[in-house]
């Protein structure tokens, strides 16, 4: 016998397509609409909170309206580079310059790494 949980009412605007899919599902199964919605939300939230956030790379991100204003302000307004930014590039150029082994040595080194028994 299942534990009957206390219920509250919520309302939300949802896509017409989602509503149509929900109607078709409850018509086909005979389940109560509120039960389907309750379980669906519970399972969705259970799933997204189990994903280890540190392991996921989100490629598509949405800003807040303030964030979007900030992005366009940065894209369209010139700023003076900070000393740290200039120094970072200078160090980067140094890194590239220090890399003075010949391409032949580099290729040999890369081939040796690929032959490593730890491949896979």
């Amino acid at each position: 016998m299942g534990h009957k949980r206390e219920q509250v009412q919520i309302s939300a605007f949802i896509a017409q397509e989602t509503k149509a899919a929900l109607d078709a599902y409850v018509a086909a199964t005979g389940l109560k609409k509120n039960r389907v919605i309750d379980e669906a939300i519970e399972r969705h939230l259970g799933a997204v909170t189990q994903i280890p956030a540190d392991m996921i790379i989100e490629t598509h991100l949405t800003t807040t309206p303030e964030g979007w204003e900030m992005v366009w302000d940065m894209i369209t307004t010139e700023r003076e580079p900070s000393p740290e930014l200039v120094e970072g590039w200078e160090r980067h150029f140094e890194f590239l310059r220090e890399d003075d082994c010949s391409l032949e040595e580099e290729l040999a080194r890369d081939r040796a790494a690929e032959d490593s028994p730890d491949a896979g």
């Binding site: 956030a53 392991m55 800003t63 979007w68 900070s82 150029f93 391409l103």
Partner: protein, 210 residues
């Protein structure tokens, strides 16, 4: 020292940044993202053939979501392409050598190429809270983002730097280079991109000098 993309043969299991989540990502997920899901490429710096620092890059996009009418009238609503610096870690035995900073500039360098070849408006970083000041000093600003990932682990702080700004920094820095330095660096970079052998490179130079 030159960063290059991770290869299957690279020994990742001994990598130890002191951050368990960062190490787990590098050991277990970075390869899947690169070779199975194609959502990111991890660039590494090496010492004696072993990776000692990594940065995972991914092409991404930023969009404004729902905008209030007053903002909608003033600003474009289309998504913009960005390069994501999604993860960065330095082995703790090599911390304090500027390797993390170098990888930030490797990412910025790649973003510049991306802009020329496919379009890119800037670099978007996922930073640990204690690294925020570092990125801010290098021209990044905190960006409010909505995220669908709400799982375990610390939430990263998102920071953005527009490419125009990053390029301006590079232009100022390159003023100190001689024309020969710049030419040599560019020539070497192009040769690597084309995977030219030393002999092929020499042959190209000989033909140029003829």
């Amino acid at each position: 020292m030159r960063a290059r993309a991770l290869r299957k043969a690279d020994r990742r299991q001994e990598f130890d940044s002191g951050e368990p989540a960062t190490d787990l990502f590098f050991r277990e997920y970075a390869g899947q993202d690169q070779w199975r899901h194609y959502v990111g490429v991890t660039y590494c710096l090496f010492d004696s053939g072993r990776p000692i620092a990594f940065a995972t890059l991914s092409a991404g996009s930023l969009d404004p979501g729902e905008l209030p009418p007053e903002v909608r009238e003033r600003l474009p609503r289309h998504a913009v392409p960005v390069l994501r610096l999604a993860r960065l870690g330095v082995d703790r035995r090599h911390q304090g050598r500027g390797l993390g900073r170098e990888l930030l500039y490797v990412a910025s360098d790649i973003a510049v190429k991306m802009r020329v070849r496919a379009g890119c408006t800037g670099v978007l970083v996922d930073a640990k809270p204690d690294a925020v000041r570092f990125y801010e000093r290098h021209g990044f600003r905190r960006l409010p983002i909505t995220s669908r990932v709400a799982g375990a682990g610390a939430r990263p702080v998102r920071l953005f730097a527009d490419l125009q700004h990053l390029v301006r920094g590079a232009m100022t820095a390159s003023e100190g280079l001689t024309a020969t330095d710049s030419l040599a660096l560019e020539f070497r970079r192009r040769a690597r991109e084309l995977s030219l052998t030393h002999e092929e490179l020499r042959s190209v130079v000989d033909k140029l000098l003829d």
